[in-house]
Amino acid sequence: MSLDLSKLVGQIVDLAAGIKSKMGERQGKLEFALNTLKSSAADFNALKHKIESSKTTWLVAGLKESMDVRQAAAHCPDDSIVLASDGSHIDVDRHQSARCFLINIGMAQLQYGRNPGAQLISFPSLYFKDEEVAITSTDGRQIPIEGQLLGIKRGIEECHWLVERLNALGADLPVVALLDGSLILWRLAEQDYPDFVVRDLLIDGFLKYLNHLKQLSQRQRLAVASYISYPRSTEVVNLLRLAVCPHVPVDCDRNCSGKFEARDCDVVAGLLDRDLFTWLLSPGQRSAIFSSRSSVVTKYYGANEINFFYIRLDGEVARVEIPLWVAEDEKLVELVHSIILDQCQRGLGYPVALSEAHEQAVVNVADRQQFWGLVEQVLSEDGIYLESSAKSASKRARWI
């Protein structure tokens, strides 16, 4: 039976009313937040010191330059290459007997200027060998790669294929390599995966590829960045919480434990970073560069420490994440800023290279069914008897 929308209409009306009632209160908070940002920006060193001596319950952005920086974009180079990578996957289906998963990486390589050109390609990979479908520790413990872990692996493969492509490219034009989503593998830290999983995926995987990109950028003008549309981060708002906190030193557990919504810093509660920068920045401008102080970054990323800035587009504010070696190179930051702006203009609000990479990567429901159908067909042609679960069979043959 499909969703009964008539039973939902009333509830959706209540949702709209709830949002409307909060909007007035929100505007007041935003004005206060902007004023706090401007006044705190004046005392950069004091705020920096406050951050370093604080113990907060929220993630606070690291301060690298004055918070109220509003940087216009440099002129986009006439000749450049944008290489974007995106991926999708078909997860392990425990109702099928063949244990495997598929990762499909889509890439778009767009060259602009005197020799315009485009390459749109996809690289589907099937993982089925014992050592491919699980991560194994030295003492024999195994964690199967599926669900959320498979999503993480897919993100790493997107970066892997960027490296492969850039190795083969050998361009003498400036190149910006783009990924979708965050460069910070939050979920590896949040989910308490065992160390050997973190080592396999992060240290020997993602960070290895970032290092490789860093080496490539020493030989050519190359920057790598990730793009997050409509971000929900609050790291800079949390900086403002710190700025208004009257306690010295700032220690949330000690000073404000159990005081939800009654804390001094709750004057900015509910605001997002994008709210701040929508008001602070003009279209085309980027914010100051901040650093990520998340535990996974400080513990593992080293020379690839993730920095970020916000960029104001016509319709929204996006978050751009860059490794430290890009952030510390003013020319590379300018390149990333101007190219992303240009990409969003060509892509009607979203970087066109990323949307084309997504189109190459996407695996829809029909693709999924065809894939499993092909697996069944090839196996049965080889005389391999397939079991699948009764639940799976009942979904395929719907009856009354």
Binding site: L110, Y112, P116, L120, R346, E359
Partner: protein, 210 residues
């Protein structure tokens, strides 16, 4: 591509065929659809094209040319508001040429087996992935010595008006003859015989033969 351009071209494929311009992607007994290799180099309406297989060559007349998105779920958007020339659109958006395709539909009008030209449908339709070639001048001349193929066009059920296709084909193929005017007159007489009961239609079609 004008037939005069075909006249001046050297064969690019050994065996003396004309330019290879596309590949069959759908086929049936009376027609086929081909995808152009180059987005902007589709054969003109009414031109004579052919495919080849082990039985011989299948000839057809181009009756429809379409350019559209490769993915039916994605629409083409206007992009040139701030540009002075259409070429700038493709230069500024290089991915467009990979996302669009030009297809052309061909009505079969005969086939050649050995040295025999037949102006009726071939026993076997064009094969999928057959290459499609623009017919060379001498092939056009030889095939249209007899106008028997016209009835296949005039009786076809196609979404484009058959009179337009017939007119375009006669104009195109007349250029392959040493006396194009004489060919047009000959074709006009043939049409008068075929449309003897439809004076208005005949008049309208004859005006298209100039």
């Amino acid at each position: 591509m004008d037939i005069k351009e075909v006249k001046n071209q050297k064969p690019k494929v050994k065996g003396g065929f004309g330019d290879k311009i596309g590949e069959v992607i759908e086929t049936s007994s009376a027609e086929f659809t081909a995808q152009c290799y180059k987005l902007t180099e589709a054969p003109p309406l009414g031109s004579l094209v052919k495919t080849q297989d082990k039985f011989g060559e299948i000839y057809g007349v181009v009756y429809n040319v379409e350019t559209h998105s490769l993915d039916p779920g994605r629409r083409v958007l206007a992009r040139g508001e701030n540009m002075k020339a259409e070429e700038e659109i493709f230069a500024a958006n290089p991915q467009l040429s990979k996302l669009l395709t030009t297809d052309f539909r061909v009505l079969l009008v005969g086939h050649v087996e050995g040295k025999s030209i037949h102006h009726y449908l071939p026993p076997k339709s064009a094969s999928i992935h057959s290459f499609v070639y623009i017919c060379r001048l001498e092939e056009v001349r030889a095939f249209t010595e007899s106008l028997d193929f016209l009835s296949l066009i005039m009786n076809a059920r196609i979404p484009v008006p058959v009179d337009e296709v017939a007119g375009a084909c006669i104009r195109y193929t007349s250029q392959a003859h040493s006396d194009p005017n004489a060919f047009l007159i000959k074709a006009g007489k043939e049409l008068a015989y075929m449309l003897s009961g439809e004076v208005n239609r005949l008049n309208s079609l004859l005006k298209r033969l100039k």
